[in-house]
Amino acid sequence: MRALSTKELLSCILIWMFLVPSKSWAQVEEGNRFSLSGIVKDESGNLLDNAHVSISETDMRMDTDHSGAFRFDVAAGTYTISVSKVGFSSEERQVKIKERNSVIEFVLSEAAYTHLEGATVVGKTALQEVRETAYNVTALDAKAFHNTTLDLAHLLNKSSGVKIRETGGMGSSYSINLNGFTGRHVKVFMDGVPMEGMGSSFQLNNIPINLAERIEIYKGVVPIELGADALGGAINVITNKRNKSYADISYSFGSFNTHKTNVNLGYGAKNGFTVQLNAFQNYSDNNYRVLTQNWNPEDRTFSNDSVWVKRFHDGYRNETIGIKTGFVNTDWADQLLFGITLGQERDDIQHSNLMKVVFGAKERKSNTIMPSLSYAKRDFLWEGMNVRVNAQYNRNYNQNIDTSAFEYDWYGTAFRQNDGKVGEANNTLAEFFNRNASVSLNSNYQINEQHSVAINEVWSTYRRNNADKNALITETDLAHDRSSNYKNVLGLSYKFNYDKKWVSTFFGKHYIQHVKGPVNVGSTDWPKYEQGTNSSKSFGYGLATTYFFNHTQLKFSAEQAVRMPTENELLGDQLFERANVTLRPESSKNLNLGIAYQKDIDANHAVYFDASGVYRNVKDFIQRSITPRAGEAVSMNHGKVQNLGINFEGRYYFQDMLTIGGTFTYQSLLNKEKYEQNGKQLSIVYNDRMPNQPYLYGNGEVEFRLPKLGVQHDLLTFAYNINYVHSFFLHWESLGSSSTKDIVDRQLSHDILATYTMQNGRYNLTFEARNITDQLLYDNFSLQKPGRSFAVKLRYFFM
């Protein structure tokens, strides 16, 4: 496959734009069709939007609008109409269509909660709606895992194309690998708001799963609603939106003295007033056993052989509370919520980026304050025009503490340092403040059933500076570290919906960035810093189209995506990073082709398959390389990377009792840069597999559900998971003698879960055993993850 050139992509879009509408107008003129319309309500008479309505005899389907209404144009005849919505039991009715039809009314009753948990393929849940968009998106149903002790990051690991790489146990740092993209190339959002600046006490690896309803993973092509310069995709966490009173309280306890508590409370008044509280706590000693070379602080040498030791300085704790209050479903706002989230974190640091480099006293502290505001209204100025505004401010404080007069071996023995030396790695008490603000405006307008347009505008700013200059102790700290960044992303899209069978979206994104920071205008020996600035603009565009037929969906999407360089890459940091104001944005051509098939074969069997092929061609990679000896880094535009991969997900359902499923990802991620960074010399690793990237992985699961076990509304669930990651090299695969190469070995682990649910999900008790065969697990070279562990979770849920 070869990459589409910009020109080709543009002409494609133009052809589509001209051809498609003319065809649709012809269609509308067809005669002998009658209107079939209706409304959907709940038992208390509230109109239900986004309920899924389909006509069994045809492939027609649609969702109810904000006033609970739907309307089809059909030929005369008798039809079976089914209506479903997540959280409600489905309704089915036969209707005879004549020339003049009255409005049909459906009343849905609330589903017993267990119906939600049993992931049967009935109705169209929000989850399926996302899956059925034209984008290459995977939607993970968080609700199905609400009884487990997973955090959001570990849920993400269950998706095809995604690999979460952790450096240790609870609270360790993690990175998301999304079809070969990682770090700055993958942007994470919560309800459409960027999570970048939210602080480490409110991140995917500590937010409990019960906060989320689902996670949407956009691979490669990102809709404009998530306004960001995401080169490799985006992840959007959708939090629970319950408009009534509820309580979801859970506590879990497990191996390594791990405690997690989560309290979710909501109150909803008749007049729309609502208060929502979310609080969580994570604690772990992380004192699991690891196999490592020991260090002898007296000789300053590492042992040749590895020994089993218990981690002794890796405790982690985090407490976060968030409150939202405001009004929902009033005349003037569908949602107006003010919120504030407060979080704090303390993390003992057990080792450096190599496990053998052990620490015994280093730690890190941080806290976060995040006020937020969100407003949403349908039919804002006129009918069909929806508006959503989000504003968020984050203030994060971080402190690194390394002031110990002792150093430690892996057995935890303390040794007083020589000559009164202080600090195990880098004597510091450095404090930093990060401040972020972002405002986003999203509006879409449904012109008619076929045409709609949307605009999305995100404005964000970032500022970093030292909190306390007196706390700077060593010369390697930055005395005037202050930089800021302002970014504006504008997105426009047009959606064409042909008979609900063929849906296409065309979009363009415009980026403006302005960065400020210190630039060395003096010499190396006597540096002199002045405030430097840099501005840049960039443009990206793409399309996504999908076609439905016979329980099958075909998807194609393409994007010319860009990522703007960061202020650090552009301006350096005075000490370790050299400025390079000539950096261009990175760009990638992303193509996706997918097919999904979903069918209830009969009353007992249902299947779901989703396979997609991805193609990525990245150029002008911003690479950071270190100059030898000086230890200084500089970022440069260099490098091309190509990825051809497949993602597969499949599930089989037998009644409510059994689910078997799995995901599988393979990616051929190749270095396509022909020349050396330093000029014209042919690169020895041209066409070599990209190093330090998992490229073949998958997981499988089997779940048994035994309902009505003894008691009418009880449910017993057993689940088994298998996780596999193929081995990969830390450095270039083709170079060096194979016996001397650093490798991350093949990982294969098994988990077992059992959940007993009482009274339709009100009381839940879960037992988990993870990594039951006690394998040595690594996501990163030398950084061992926990071995076999057990946990128990108690959960009370009421709505």
Binding site: N418, K421, A479, I601, N678, G679, S738, T740
Partner: protein, 429 residues
């Protein structure tokens, strides 16, 4: 679709998964095993691609010709960019890591024409800005260290790495303030074994509380830019003798945070001290003075103004001094030319052979032209020749060049298929 088809599909996808997992083994091309000679050259190469720097170490009996590849070959040893040879059998590699402790590793010549790890891996918590060999140990040093609240005493931290004791490393911090008697503190440049019990190091002076900037440098302004000091230290880091002179500025090749040695001994035990005239405030030109064998002071009769030899290119500056043969030394110069946009930093791009006895200065011929900005790696000198790695940004593969000190001519030797050759050395079985 019926159940049968589902099973079929499931079976197919399982088979696909299995078939892909089956291609698991990944042995590159076979390592070409051969029996090692007693003594071979050590070659450190680097590949810099896709934002990752990886390193491979090779052994070869002949460095004057041929080609070596690191495809499926070489000891993977990434990030170790300083190689020092404390004994004939051992090379010590050092890796500096931002914010984290540095690491060290020992290597030797293996039986199969390969480089193998020798001795324990080590951890070096302090940075190093200069290094050398003394009494078969590697010594690294960094200056500008303060302790607690006391700003008036500036210290230097040394590490002694001893391959005879499984790479046991000893850290020592000593006060290097007022070594010169004028109240200023010193940053050390170079570790050069002088006699059996002492090593020499040049002192780079700075005023106490001077602004050292933030470029990783530990020196600031000095009130004595027109003076040079060389100290002799014993193994306990006591100064046994101090040599001072006012004819040249301090003797150190300053390259970013590093202080390269510009002190070197000739074949008769006379020590030549070179000053590249790095300090902008110095009025003294780049030059050479000498400590005669056994003397307690600089030879007042010997002085050579190197700047005068540069003719039109007065801005050219050298960083390192290598003794090659008799009175012949090689200096690596940065000659004035347009900077290469593909290079991160302007580095040395030319070599000169200087005859300190005849006071004769010759640019080395036969190297890639300095206007192409060749990059030099760490060389070794042997039999009147300097073997120096040269990497280019103009399309040629990196190669070892052999500089003949007598003729000041260079020839292209062994070529390696890598981004760069960072160092050559010699190892004995």
């Amino acid at each position: 679709m019926n159940t049968k088809n589902i099973i079929k599909n499931a079976a197919f996808s399982t088979a696909l998964l299995l078939s892909l997992t089956a291609c698991e083994k990944n042995d590159g091309p076979n390592d070409d095993d051969r029996d090692s000679n007693d003594v071979e050259f050590f070659i450190s190469t680097e590949v810099n691609a896709a934002g990752q720097v990886s390193g491979y170490l090779l052994a070869t009996p002949d460095i004057t010709q041929g080609t070596l590849s690191i495809k499926g070959n070489g000891l993977e040893m990434s990030g170790y960019n300083t190689w020092v040879f404390p004994t004939e059998q051992v090379g010590i590699g050092l890796k500096y890591q931002k914010g984290d402790p540095g690491l060290g590793v020992g290597v030797g010549l293996g039986p199969k024409g390969d480089i193998v790890k020798v001795g324990a891996d080590i951890r070096i918590d302090s940075r190093y800005t200069t290094y050398g060999v003394f009494q078969n140990k590697v010594i690294t040093a960094v200056g500008g260290i303060t302790k607690g609240e006391d700003d008036n005493d500036i210290y230097s931290t040394f590490n002694f790495i001893d391959p005879a004791q499984n790479n046991k490393t000893t850290e020592r911090t000593i006060n290097t303030t007022n070594l010169t008697g004028n109240g200023e503190y010193a940053t050390l440049s170079g570790v050069v074994q002088f006699d059996e019990n002492t090593f020499l190091s040049s002192l780079v002076p700075s005023k106490i509380n001077s602004d050292t900037g933030e470029g990783g440098s530990s020196t600031g302004v000095t009130d004595y830019p027109d003076s040079v000091w060389v100290a002799a230290f014993n193994k306990d880091l006591e100064v046994t003798h101090l040599y001072g002179d006012d004819r040249i500025g301090y003797a150190s090749g300053r390259f970013r945070s590093q202080y390269y040695s510009t002190i070197s001994e000739d074949h008769q035990g006379n020590v030549y001290v070179f000053s590249p005239a790095n300090d902008e405030r110095s009025t003294k030109p780049a030059g050479v003075i000498r400590i005669n064998r056994g003397a307690d002071d600089f030879d007042t009769d010997y002085y050579w103004n190197l700047e005068d030899e540069l003719e039109s290119d007065k801005e050219a500056r050298f960083y390192n001094v290598y003794h090659v043969k008799d009175d012949l030394f090689v200096l690596d110069y940065r000659r004035t030319t347009a900077e290469d946009p593909n290079q991160e930093v302007a580095k040395a791009n030319a070599l000169a052979v200087v005859d300190v006895a005849k006071q004769e200065f010759r640019w080395v011929e036969g190297l890639p032209d300095y206007t192409k900005n060749p990059v030099f790696g760490n060389p070794i000198a042997e039999d009147g020749k300097l073997y120096i790695p040269v990497s280019l940004t103009t399309g040629e593969k990196p190669a070892v060049y052999i500089v003949d000190a007598e003729s000041a001519g260079a020839e292209r030797g062994l070529e390696v298929d890598a981004s760069s050759i960072t160092a050559v050395g010699k190892l004995k079985k």
